[in-house]
Symmetry: D2
């Protein structure tokens, strides 16, 4: 970390600041330029409150050199983290497919889809029981009934399940859930993240609609600081000015996050674009970008279409996508081997 | 609401959709163009799930004509809502000043600042007890102790208090708090909003960092749908590509929100820019834009500066700002009278 | 196009507007709802000035239903446009590689890179002679000398060349250039676009840093309206709040643009991320997304590294990327065939 | 400027870099931390190509400490620049009103509006002759006829005129124009900016739709580097995700730009919001923020309304706004005097 000192500061003020920094176990290199005194800090600055330093009277600006996340940082943990949930595994170099409906609607629906996506190659089942909706007048999900139905589908198929928590008060319902999903709108619900840090099961953490990668990793850090290191990062589209697509899927986040962090990265191609026609190309693109898994919405009977999401694939379309992504995955792998 | 039907749709499909819409108490006008059939809906569409309609097989697109918010909509409630909290009032045409420190640090600190800002014209006291922080390693606030200190300051000065709730589990601590603040990161914490809808005290709802005005009003709608109509909207800066300022204060949101809604609108000039030097000009600008109140960070002893936020004014600077905004407020009012 | 009439409008005003619209060869369907009169327009609205209509006194809002671009629209031209330039072809279903240095630095440099990228599979040579630079103090390119060097490299290798025009006054220098590139900052330089519409050679049109896909297609429309239908669209990253990457490569634009338009789409993975480490994964991702070509920066001697762009690959790295993208391209194609 | 050296770099590489930097008249302070070697540069780094440095093999990152603009920088030119054009003045501490129609439509129209806005207090006349339009099918302005009409209006009223140039080829038509406007889309048309640097008349430079303040100041720097120091900066709204307003007027840019630079700053409240109802509150807000002038669209006969912009005021409304902004301007000034 580098601290730029204001020109007009007195020597005693600078010395007081240096003492204070040294108390935080930091070595301070002083560099006095013609225009400005600069302090270079050496040591673990991740526990230093950068806003606090920036607010000090004699400080003009603070430039971070090291990333503020530590447990999630690949620099301090070079090996990939492999997350295991039920029989499924994410981050071991294979491509994990997580599939299922937007919302759980009935036991019959979720079990039928679970069997179907399993047959197509999915190794985890997703489905929403608690649904965050912009409008209070929209369907809010089946709640605990939805979770019970997911557990039935798990029993029938053996697929571990991923479902979203919306509030701490729901946590007791997630005892038998394999992976707890934190939605984009809750990515900075710090009270929730802290409590999930005390759980001992994987957390699928979706990137907030307008969160930077650094903020995503800092939210992962909240969970990991509590002792739970099983965090899966999920890119699901960010908010931009473009409006032909609902959000802009930021696929450069995939190699970037994998470079910055050792945590596995999955992509949700369904929510990001909001259009089922784009799920296939964006799934293939995500695999090209080096993703560890895909989380894809699949719905049941399209003839009875009233509740299908505009971003959901039919089961047949999912089967095709599953096959196509595997072909691309193999090609990406073959390309890597040529390199070595 | 206007529904564009896909070209290739069959007549019976269109008729099924029309029947379904009519069951929702909507009149449907069919307009058959050369390129496209269009359905125009007349009636209360605010309770219709637009995503559901958009997802239907034969629907190409849905264009909303009426706003999706209803209780918050000025069209259905032309008079300004006036919110009363303790002795203070927001939205009655006067300019309300809410001031106080970023975080409550001690009883002494909060009481001293409370007295000082009251003397300068503030009619409400703000102060953070629970602090949402990007890093798990940063100071997280004094929690329930902080709330107790705020209540002491309230007792000593008579100023009603505004403070932020971060999670439903903290709600019991807010019994004597006058206005509950929902922070930008929680603007779409729908579980929290629903519960606040059952409270009978004012909610200060901050706009999310990347939330549209429509989403802000839909979040107000969540609270109002529960029966609590005392919502204060707060613009506090949105996330853009610009990085000389921390966020971009969207002052056009002020007249726009007041046109769309009857709820009072306040501006937070401290958090939006992240620079104390900009608090004064942005406060004056907000008054020019027609705001109902300002919520401003004020800190205590600048000599003992380690914990001052970079966005906080000293008490002396706040006094000056309070005087300057009053002058501008009077001028804006005089300008209005000339008009009539 | 749908026109929402303000509630308080008088009947004669509405009738005057309808007459005016009919003079523009449009049929007008009037739908009188309880809250609002709505006019539905049938006919070719692409030549109607939507801002003009929106500004009319009695108009509350205008909602477009058809896209405002016409020549570029796939609806009116379902077949893919194939652009031929020198011996190279873009948009015929194959994957076209365009490669070369950021800036032309010397005849030796450009000829060496040209031979190298040709050997690796590139079929077009890129290189900047006129460089748009944010700072007036940065290197601005070799200008007409640079173009002459590119032409030498073309002669030596047979590769057609792509290079950027910055101003109309440079047009005479582009007589022997095969493809004229319009940079992101000039995407809405309408005077330039109009003149390029009178040329009879392909234009590679880069998406502006904050331009929507619709604006990109409208800029293509400017060129096509002049009679030049050989436009190649190029996605090169958009400006967002994220700053770990220089820009955010919007790969969902690839399938979206190909759905909206018949024009070929290429991706520039070098400029978008600003990091050479991300060129490979983003190239593979672009191929997964269905791109017609890639335009990649390649530099020469890395030992003598002072002028290498941070986003450039070495010639060896380019060779590997070229091989890897071909493998992924074949897999994407195989996946398509399985589908049929 | 601070250069972070990659960990694995060899000592001789670092020494070569230091030598190279010293040749650029820079002093280099070397700070060797445990994790990283850091070079601190002292001297004039504004002429150093930061992209070039960042691209060097051994460089991990470069952090700028000084701003990259020099002629526009208040640090090197503490006094406000006052721009004089015809009889009008901008930046001398008074509030300058520039008003006129979006497009010049006829001699009669422009002369009538010119007289009217002069009577209301405007000291400069604006009007578009060349109009940048997103669609090739929209009205593109009257061109040189428009300029002639503006000159007639100037002669009749004595008001100096401001009008937009779209391309260098039009420059000869601007001989008698008092202030040349560079539109948002041309803010980074560097060929144009360079040529305007050789002119000896004021340039009104509009901020690009998605340009940072730093980029705006770098574009001013292009003009100033050519010897023309009479640049007026204009904030006119930036592109964000919000879509109730056309753009988001960034009023925090006003005090920020005035702090960073000595150049005068004006605000265009008409184009930014795209709604005439917001012109008044945003004008008052801009004055609160400390602007040097306002550039406001005013139209003529509202009864004959077909060509009025949705963002234009009538002449009566402009008169009211002119009076109201003066009241607020006086109040802001009175507030400043209290302070001293």
């Amino acid at each position: 970390m580098i601290i730029l000192i204001k020109k007009e500061s007195r020597q005693e003020q600078i010395e007081r600041l240096i003492e204070w920094l040294q108390k935080h176990q930091l070595n301070v290199h002083v560099s006095e330029g013609m225009l400005q005194t600069i302090l270079g800090l050496v040591g673990d600055t991740s526990r230093l409150d950068i806003d606090l330093v920036r607010s000090m009277e004699i400080v003009e600006d603070v430039k971070r050199i090291q990333e503020p996340f530590k447990s999630a940082n690949r620099k301090f943990h070079p090996e990939n983290t492999v997350v295991a949930a039920g029989g499924a595994v994410i981050g071991d170099g294979s491509l994990t497919l997580i599939a299922g409906p937007c919302s759980v609607e009935s036991e019959e629906q979720i079990c039928m889809i679970a069997k179907s996506v399993k047959a197509s190659g999915a190794t985890m089942l997703r489905g929403g029981a608690f649904k965050p909706r912009t409008s209070p007048y929209s369907f809010q999900g089946l709640g605990d009934d939805g979770i019970r139905m997911l557990l039935t589908a798990k029993q029938e198929t053996g697929l571990p399940i991923v479902t979203e928590i919306m509030d701490l008060s729901q946590l007791h319902l997630f005892d038998d859930v394999d992976v707890i999903q934190v939605g984009a709108r809750n990515m900075q619900n710090f009270t929730l993240l802290k409590e999930l840090g005390h759980q001992r099961k994987p957390i699928l953490l979706k990137r907030g609609l307008s969160s930077t990668m650094e903020e995503l990793l800092m939210s992962a850090e909240y969970i990991m600081a509590g002792g739970n290191e099983q965090v899966i990062l999920c890119e699901r589209g960010i908010r931009t000015f473009e409006n032909y697509t609902r959000n802009t899927l930021d696929l450069s986040a995939v190699p970037m996050l994998k470079q910055l962090s050792h945590l596995p990265v999955v992509v949700d191609p369904s929510h990001s674009t909001g259009m089922s026609r784009l799920v296939r190309p964006m799934s293939l693109a995500a695999v090209g970008a080096g993703v560890d898994g895909l989380i894809i919405e699949v719905h049941n009977d399209p003839a009875n279409a009233l509740c299908d999401g505009p971003q959901s694939l039919t089961q047949e379309a999912f089967e095709e996508v599953a096959r196509a992504v595997q072909l691309v995955y193999d090609a990406v792998k073959a390309g890597k081997e040529v390199r070595q």
